[in-house]
C-alpha cells in the first residue's frame, strides 16, 4: 500500500509544481476587485451590516460616475463572523484565487492582527478600515498595510482630554469594558492618559464582564455601592445597549457621569433609553448631524441615500468604510498620474497610499509614513430633541488628531505616560459649529 501511495504522490506533485505569475503592470484591467471583510453575522454585525450597505451604496455611485478611469470597482465581501481560520482562508481565497488587489480588512482587531502579516507575504494592499489597535503599525513597519482611520490611542486620549474639559474636577472613576482585546487595551490607554493628565484621579473599579454578557445587574449594583464620579465604558453593540439601559433604569446615570466614546453607534437603537448629558463619542470625526457639514451637498446626499436604503442614519463604521474606499480610489488616481496614465502596480499604489491626503464624509485625513491615518475626534453630550426618536450629540468638540496620536516611531504605552495636563487647554480643541438645536 505504501509503495503505491508514494508513487502516485510523487507523480502528481511533480506535475503540479509551477512558478507564480508576477504582478502584471501597465495594462488596464476590466475591473478593480476590492475585497471588504466585514461582520455579516455575530455580535459585530451591528457595525458590519451598515458598513456593507454603505460600501455597496458608495461603489454603485462611484461606478455610475465612470469609475476609476473607466475601470469599475467590484466589491468582494468576506464575512468575519466565520471566525478565525475560516476567515483567513476566505481572505486568501479572494486574494489568491479571485485576484483581488486591495483588501479592506477588517472590523475586528484580532482579524487585523491575523491578516496583516499574511497580506505582507501575499503583497496585497491591506487597509485596516475599522479596527483600532495601534500595535500592528507600531510593532512592525509594513509595506502594504495601512489604516485609513484614527487608532485606539487617538480615540482614547481624545476621550480623556474631552472628559477633563467637560468635567475637570472629578475624583474617582470606574470602568466597565467588554472582556476582550479592545476592552482591555482601550482602557489601558485611557487610564494611562488620564493619570498623566490628572494624576490625582482614583480608579475605584475595573470591571470586565464577558463579551456578549446578557446582564450587567451585578456590575451596576457594585457601581452603586462605590459611587464613582465618572464611569467610562468603551463597550459597543448589544453589550453597550444593555449596560446603558440597565444603568439608566436603575438611576446610575443620575449619580455618575458616563463617558461612552463609542456610543454614537448605539444612539439610534437606544432611543429614549439614554438620558441627556452623557458624554459620547465616535471613532473619528464623521457625524451625520455635524453642523460643519450642514450645507455640504455630497455628504447630505449620502446620508439621505443611506437612510433610504437601510432605514437608519449612518454610524461611524459607515464613514470608516467610505474613507477606506475613497483612499483606495484616490491612491490609484495619484499612482496612475505618477505612472503617466498607465495602470499602476501594487507597489506604486502602496507608495501613493503612504503620502495620501484625502477627504470622505468629514474633514481631510492624512496618512503618515507608518501607514497610520490622522483623523480628528468628535465628542459631545447627548441631548434629546423632539424631531427625532433618539438622542443627538450636542456641543460637539473636535480634538485634532496630531495632538492626541503617538508620533511616528514612538511606542504608545510610553508616549501616553508623557502627556502633560496643559494639553487639555490647547486652543486647537474647539467646539464645532453652533449647538445642534437652538431653542
Amino acid at each position: 500500500m505504501q509503495a503505491s501511495v508514494v508513487r502516485v504522490l510523487i507523480a502528481v506533485t511533480a506535475a503540479f509544481v509551477f512558478a507564480n505569475c508576477a504582478d502584471a503592470q501597465g495594462a488596464k484591467p476590466v475591473e478593480l476587485k476590492v475585497g471588504i471583510t466585514t461582520f455579516t453575522s455575530g455580535a459585530a454585525s451591528v457595525f458590519g451590516v451598515p458598513a456593507k450597505a454603505a460600501a455597496e451604496l458608495w461603489v454603485e455611485d462611484f461606478n455610475a460616475k465612470g469609475g476609476l478611469n473607466g475601470v469599475k470597482i467590484t466589491p468582494v465581501f468576506v464575512d468575519e463572523g466565520l471566525g478565525g481560520e475560516k476567515f483567513l482562508s476566505e481572505y486568501r481565497r479572494v486574494v489568491q484565487d479571485q485576484g483581488v488587489k486591495v483588501m479592506l480588512a477588517s472590523i475586528s482587531s484580532g482579524d487585523c492582527n491575523v491578516v496583516a502579516p499574511v497580506a505582507e507575504d501575499l503583497k496585497v494592499i491591506d487597509i485596516m478600515w475599522d479596527c483600532g489597535t495601534e500595535k500592528i503599525l507600531e510593532d512592525k513597519r509594513y509595506q502594504y498595510v495601512f489604516r485609513t482611520t484614527s487608532n485606539a490611542v487617538t480615540e482614547m486620549v481624545a476621550a480623556a482630554v474631552h472628559l477633563l474639559r467637560v468635567k475637570p474636577d472629578f475624583k474617582t472613576i470606574a470602568v466597565v469594558n467588554q472582556d476582550y482585546a479592545w476592552g482591555r487595551d482601550s482602557w489601558e490607554i485611557f487610564r494611562n492618559a488620564l493619570l498623566a493628565l490628572k494624576p490625582d484621579t482614583r480608579v475605584v473599579a475595573e470591571l470586565f464582564p464577558k463579551f456578549g454578557a446578557p446582564d450587567f445587574s451585578t456590575e451596576i449594583t457594585r457601581l452603586q455601592a462605590l459611587k464613582p464620579d465618572v464611569i467610562v465604558s468603551t463597550a459597543w453593540g448589544g453589550d453597550l445597549d444593555t449596560f446603558i439601559r440597565q444603568a439608566n433604569q436603575r438611576g446610575l446615570t443620575k449619580t455618575s457621569q458616563f463617558v461612552l466614546p463609542l456610543a454614537e453607534s448605539s444612539l439610534e437603537r437606544l432611543g429614549k433609553s439614554i438620558p441627556d448629558g452623557v458624554i459620547v463619542g465616535m471613532r473619528g470625526d464623521a457625524y451625520f448631524a455635524d453642523p460643519d457639514f450642514k450645507s455640504d451637498a455630497k455628504i447630505k446626499a449620502f446620508v439621505q441615500k443611506f437612510h433610504a436604503k437601510t432605514g437608519a442614519y449612518p454610524i461611524y463604521p459607515v464613514s470608516h468604510v467610505v474613507q477606506a474606499l475613497q483612499a483606495v480610489v484616490d491612491a490609484y488616481t495619484v499612482a496612475i498620474k505618477a505612472n503617466k496614465g498607465q495602470w499602476p502596480g501594487t507597489d506604486q499604489v502602496a507608495d501613493a497610499m503612504r503620502t495620501l491626503e484625502f477627504r470622505a464624509l468629514s474633514r481631510p485625513i492624512k496618512i503618515r509614513a507608518d501607514g497610520q491615518a490622522l483623523q480628528g475626534q468628535l465628542l459631545g453630550v447627548t441631548k434629546s430633541v423632539p424631531e427625532l426618536p433618539f438622542a443627538l450629540i450636542d456641543q460637539l468638540t473636535l480634538v485634532p488628531a496630531d495632538l492626541v496620536t503617538t508620533p511616528v516611531g514612538q511606542k504608545s504605552p510610553e508616549w501616553v505616560k508623557t502627556l502633560k495636563s496643559d494639553l487639555v487647554k490647547s486652543d486647537r480643541i474647539k467646539i464645532v459649529g453652533t449647538p445642534v438645536v437652538t431653542k
Binding site: 453575522s41 456578549g212 445587574s217 451585578t218 449594583t221 448589544g238 445597549d241 440597565q246 433604569q249
Partner: protein, 301 residues
C-alpha cells in the same frame, strides 16, 4: 466583604437565578419525563426573547397599559413554546427510537443549528430589547442600592410561581399525575392505559414554554443577539446536572446556588465569574456523580 455588599450581591443573584431556574426547569422536566436532553432548549429561550421583544414593540405603538405590556411576555412564551415545542416533538423526536439517549441528543443538536440560522433570518443581527416595561415598574432601594422592581421582584416571583404551579400540576391534577407516572415507569404507565405519546407531547411543549418564558422575561433587561441561545443551553445544563437530571426542586436550589455564587464572584473574584457555574457543576459531579439530589438507580443484569 461586608454585610451590605453581601445583601447587594444576593439581590443581584436572585434575579439571575430566577431566569436560570425557568430555563433549567423546562430542560429538567423534559429530561425527567422523556429521557431527552434538549440541546435546542437554548434556541427556545432565544425565540421566546425575540418574540417578546417584537410583540412588545408592536404593542407599544398603541400606548398600552403596563399590564398589557407585561402580558406580552408570557404570551410570546406560549406562542413560541407551543409552535416550536410541538414541531420538534412531533416532527423529529418521535421518529427516533427511544431508549438510546444519545440519538435524541444529536437530533436536538441538529435542531439547534437550524434554529440558530432561522432566528437570524427572522430577526437579523441587530440587538433587540423591550425595556419599556422595566421603566414602568419603577425602582426600589435596598441596602443603599437601587434595583428594578422588575428584576428584583417580578422575575424571582414568576420563577417561584412557575415552580409552585408545576409542583401543583404534577402532584394534584390528573394530567400531571399521568406525567409523573410516565416519569417513574413508562412501561407500567402505558400498561395502565396512559397515552405516553400524548404525555410526551404535553411535557415537551410545557418544557419548551418554560424555556421560552425565560427568554421572554429576559427580553426587557437584556439585548438579544445571535448566539444568546448558545450560552443559555450550556449554563442551564450546568444547573440541571448539578441538581441531578430530572430533579425539579433540585434545579431550584442549584439555580439559586449558581446564581448567588456567580454574583458573589463578581465582587470577590471577577476573573472567576464566568467559570463559577461550570466549576460548581464539575465539583458536584466529582463528588456526587448523578448530581446533588439524584436518587441512584441499581443496574440490572
Amino acid at each position: 466583604m461586608n454585610l451590605d455588599l453581601l445583601v447587594l450581591a444576593l439581590a443581584d443573584g436572585l434575579s439571575y437565578a430566577g431566569l436560570l431556574f425557568l430555563v433549567a426547569l423546562g430542560l429538567t422536566l423534559i429530561f425527567g419525563v422523556m429521557g431527552i436532553l434538549n440541546v435546542a432548549h437554548g434556541s427556545l429561550y432565544a425565540f421566546g426573547g425575540y418574540t417578546a421583544a417584537s410583540l412588545s414593540g408592536i404593542a407599544i405603538q398603541w400606548d398600552p397599559s403596563t399590564v398589557l405590556l407585561l402580558a406580552c411576555l408570557p404570551a410570546a412564551a406560549i406562542v413560541v413554546g407551543v409552535i416550536l415545542g410541538a414541531a420538534l416533538e412531533i416532527g423529529l423526536l418521535r421518529r427516533v427510537q427511544r431508549g438510546d439517549a444519545v440519538v435524541p441528543l444529536l437530533i436536538t443538536f441538529a435542531a439547534f443549528m437550524i434554529f440558530e440560522d432561522l432566528q437570524k433570518l427572522l430577526w437579523g443581527t441587530s440587538p433587540y430589547s423591550a425595556p419599556e416595561v422595566v421603566t414602568r415598574l419603577g425602582t426600589i432601594d435596598v441596602a443603599g442600592g437601587t434595583f428594578n422592581c422588575y428584576q428584583l421582584l417580578l422575575i424571582p416571583g414568576v420563577a417561584l410561581a412557575a415552580y409552585v404551579l408545576l409542583e401543583f400540576f404534577l402532584k394534584r391534577t390528573n394530567l400531571g399525575k399521568q406525567v409523573t407516572a410516565v416519569t417513574h415507569n413508562r412501561e407500567v404507565a402505558t400498561a395502565l392505559g396512559i397515552n405516553a405519546k400524548r404525555i410526551g407531547l404535553v411535557t415537551f411543549v410545557l418544557g419548551a414554554v418554560l424555556g421560552a418564558l425565560g427568554g421572554a422575561l429576559a427580553a426587557p433587561t437584556t439585548s438579544l443577539l445571535p448566539g444568546v441561545g448558545t450560552d443559555t443551553i450550556v449554563l442551564s445544563f450546568a444547573v440541571v446536572a448539578t441538581a441531578g437530571l430530572g430533579q425539579i426542586t433540585g434545579a431550584l436550589i442549584a439555580a439559586l446556588l449558581i446564581g448567588l455564587a456567580r454574583s458573589v464572584a463578581v465582587y470577590m473574584a471577577p476573573e472567576l465569574e464566568v467559570v463559577v457555574p461550570y466549576l460548581i457543576m464539575v465539583i458536584v459531579l466529582l463528588v456526587r456523580p448523578n448530581g446533588l439530589f439524584a436518587i441512584a438507580q441499581a443496574r440490572k443484569i
